[in-house]
C-alpha cells in the first residue's frame, strides 16, 4: 500500500512537466521501433497521464491489484503507446519492454488488452469505457472504498451512443467517485471530427456531470481541475481536455493526417530535437 493515501494538496507542476517530457520521449522511442503508431494522440494526452500517475492517482505499482487503488481506464485502446509509456515510467512495466510495442507476440499490443500489468479494461471498442467506470464506481461505493475511477475517452468516441447511456447512468446513480477525462483533440480516423459534438462541456453539464474545461496540455489548469474533481457532492465529474495532437513535437502538430502516423528514420532525429527544445515548457 502506498505511503500517501490522498493526493498532495498542491501540485509540483515543474516536476510534472519533466514527467510529461519523459513520457513523450518514451513514446517517440516506441514509435521508432515500430515505425508507426498513434503517436499524435499519445503526445497530446501525455500531460494528463503525467498529472494522474505522478500526482492525482492513489496507486501502487508494486501492488497492481490493491483493492482500494484508484482505477484509470483508457477507453481509447489505440492510445496504448501513451499508456505503456506511463506504466513503464510509473514502474508497472520494465522500460526495456517498450520497444516491443505493436510487434507480433508482444505484451504491449497496438490496442490495449487487460492482460498487460496496470491495464484495467480491454480498450479500443469505443464507447465501452465510461459505463464500466460507472459500474466500478458503484461497486467500490458498495464496498465503502475511498477509491475513485478515472476514465479517459475521446471526442470521436462521443459519436457512440453508449457513451451517453453511460453519462446518464453516472448521473442517475450519483457516482461522484468517477472522473471522465474527455480528450478533445479534434481528430478521428477519417480526419477532423465531423459530427456535431460541440459544445462538449455543455453536453456533460446538461447530463448532470460536474464539468470543467481546460487546456489539456497545461499542467497548471489540469492539476487545478483534478483537485476540484475530488469533491464528493453526489455528481460525477467530467474534465474536458482541449489537447493538441502531437503536442511537444511541432512537426507532428502540423502534420495533416495525424490519426495514424508513420515516422521514418530520417525524421526521427529531428523530432527528438524538437521535443528536447520544448522540454520543461
Amino acid at each position: 500500500m502506498p505511503a500517501t493515501l490522498t493526493p498532495p494538496a498542491t501540485a509540483d507542476v515543474v516536476a510534472l512537466r519533466e514527467h510529461a517530457y519523459e513520457l513523450r520521449s518514451l513514446m517517440m522511442t516506441m514509435t521508432r521501433g515500430k515505425g508507426e503508431g498513434y503517436i499524435a494522440q499519445g503526445l497530446g494526452i501525455a500531460d494528463c497521464l503525467a498529472a494522474l500517475y505522478f500526482h492525482e492517482l492513489r496507486h501502487d505499482p508494486d501492488d497492481p491489484d490493491w483493492a482500494d487503488r484508484d482505477r484509470f481506464l483508457l477507453s481509447t485502446g489505440h492510445y496504448s503507446i501513451a499508456m505503456y509509456a506511463v506504466l513503464a515510467s510509473a514502474g508497472y512495466l520494465d522500460e526495456a519492454e517498450l520497444p516491443t510495442y505493436g510487434l507480433n507476440g508482444s505484451r504491449l499490443p497496438m490496442s490495449t488488452f487487460d492482460v498487460t500489468p496496470g491495464v484495467e479494461i480491454v480498450g479500443g471498442s469505443l464507447g465501452h469505457g465510461l459505463g464500466q467506470a460507472v459500474g466500478m464506481a458503484l461497486g467500490l461505493r458498495l464496498d465503502g472504498s475511498p477509491a475513485r475511477v478515472f476514465c479517459e475517452l475521446s471526442d470521436g468516441e462521443l459519436d457512440e451512443g453508449s457513451t451517453w447511456e453511460s453519462a446518464m447512468g453516472g448521473a442517475t446513480f450519483g457516482t461522484d467517485n468517477v472522473v471522465a477525462l474527455v480528450d478533445c483533440n479534434g481528430i478521428q480516423a477519417d480526419g477532423p471530427v465531423t459530427v456535431a459534438i460541440e459544445p462538449v462541456a455543455e453536453k456533460f453539464r446538461s447530463f448532470g456531470w460536474d464539468t470543467r474545461e481546460v487546456n489539456g496540455n497545461d499542467l497548471d489548469e489540469l492539476t487545478e481541475a483534478l483537485a476540484a474533481s475530488r469533491e464528493r457532492d453526489g455528481r460525477p465529474k467530467a474534465i474536458v481536455l482541449r489537447t493538441t495532437p502531437g503536442y511537444g513535437v511541432p512537426s507532428l502538430v502540423s502534420r495533416p493526417r495525424a490519426h495514424f502516423v508513420r515516422v521514418t528514420d530520417d525524421e526521427w532525429g529531428g523530432f527528438m530535437e524538437e521535443l528536447e527544445a520544448g522540454r520543461g515548457k
Binding site: 483493492a67 465510461l130 459500474g135 458503484l138 453508449s162
Partner: protein, 329 residues
Amino acid sequence: MASETAVFGQTRGMGELIEIADKETELAPFGTELAKLGDERPEIVGLTADMGRYSDILPFRDAHPDRFFNVGMAEQNLILTAAGLAKVGKIAYCTTYSVFVTRRAYDFVAIACAHSKANVKIFAGMPGLMNGYGATHQATEDLNMMRGIADLTIIDPCDARELRQVVRAAADIPGTVYVRLLRGHVPVELPPEYEFVPGAAARLREGDGSVGVIGTGYLSGRALDAAKAAEAQGVSASVLHVPTIKPFDTTAVLEFASRHERLVVAENHKTTGGLATLVTEAMFDAGVLRPVVRVGLADGFFECGSQEYLESKYGLDLPRLLRAIVDGV
C-alpha cells in the same frame, strides 16, 4: 394466483409457457432463488434495463435494494455497468429481453464481458419464440449469435427446478454466462433428483433405441410429453436434454446419437445455428451418420400473436414433436 401476485406484486403472464394449465409450476423461480442466493453471497448484485417486472428479478430488488440497479432502457450500458461491477469483485446478474442483449449489446457482451472473463451473468428474458410482440421481441437466433463469442457459457434450462440450480451454479461458473430465462409460472418437468451439471447433457428417458430426441430448454420438457404420447402409438423414444449449449457436451451427444437409429432435435430457436447445428456438426465430424429431423423455427421474422398460435403455426408444439418422433418427418 391472486395471493401469489400479492406476494411478488410484479409478475405478469407475458412470456409464460403454455404448459402451465395442467402442470405443477413455480412462480418466478429466477428472482426468488436469486434473492435467496443474495442473502448468502453479499458480492451478488442485480441489474436490469427496465425489464425487472418481465424478467422476474424484482424479488431480488426487494430483498437487496442497495445492490440493485435499473439502468433504464439502455442495454449497452446495462452490460457495461455489470462488467464494471464485476471487475471490482462483484458477481453481476443482469436481465433484459434476449433480443436486446443479443442483437443490440453484442459487442459489449463480447468485449467488455467475455474477453475479460468478467463475472457477468446474463439472464435473457423471452428467448426464442416466447413473446407475442413479433420479431422485435423474439430472439429466434440468440443461440446462433452467442455461440460465436469465445469464453461465454450458454445455458438453456428446461424448467423451474433446473433454472433454480442454474441461478446458483452461474455464480461459480468462471466468467460470463448467458442463460435463456423462463419466467412467470414456470412448469416443473424434471424429477426431484435431477441435478444440473454445467457442461453436461442429461438422459431423461430411455427408449428402445429406435428414435432419440435431443432437446434443450423447455423443448426438452415437451419432448418428454411427446415421448409419452408416442408410447401409446407404439414408438419408444429416448430423450437427451442438453442444457449447456456452450461448452457443448459432444461426448454425450455422440454416445446418444450412435445408439439410436434416427434422431429428432428440438429447440425453441431457428433450426440453423443452434442445437441442431451443434448436434449435426458433431455427428458429421465423428462419422456418426443418422437421419435427423430438426424441430424448430424456419428462417424468417415471426408475427405477433398468442403463444399457442405461434407455436402451432411455426412448428414448436406437441403435435409437431409427436409427428417427428412417430413418423420421422
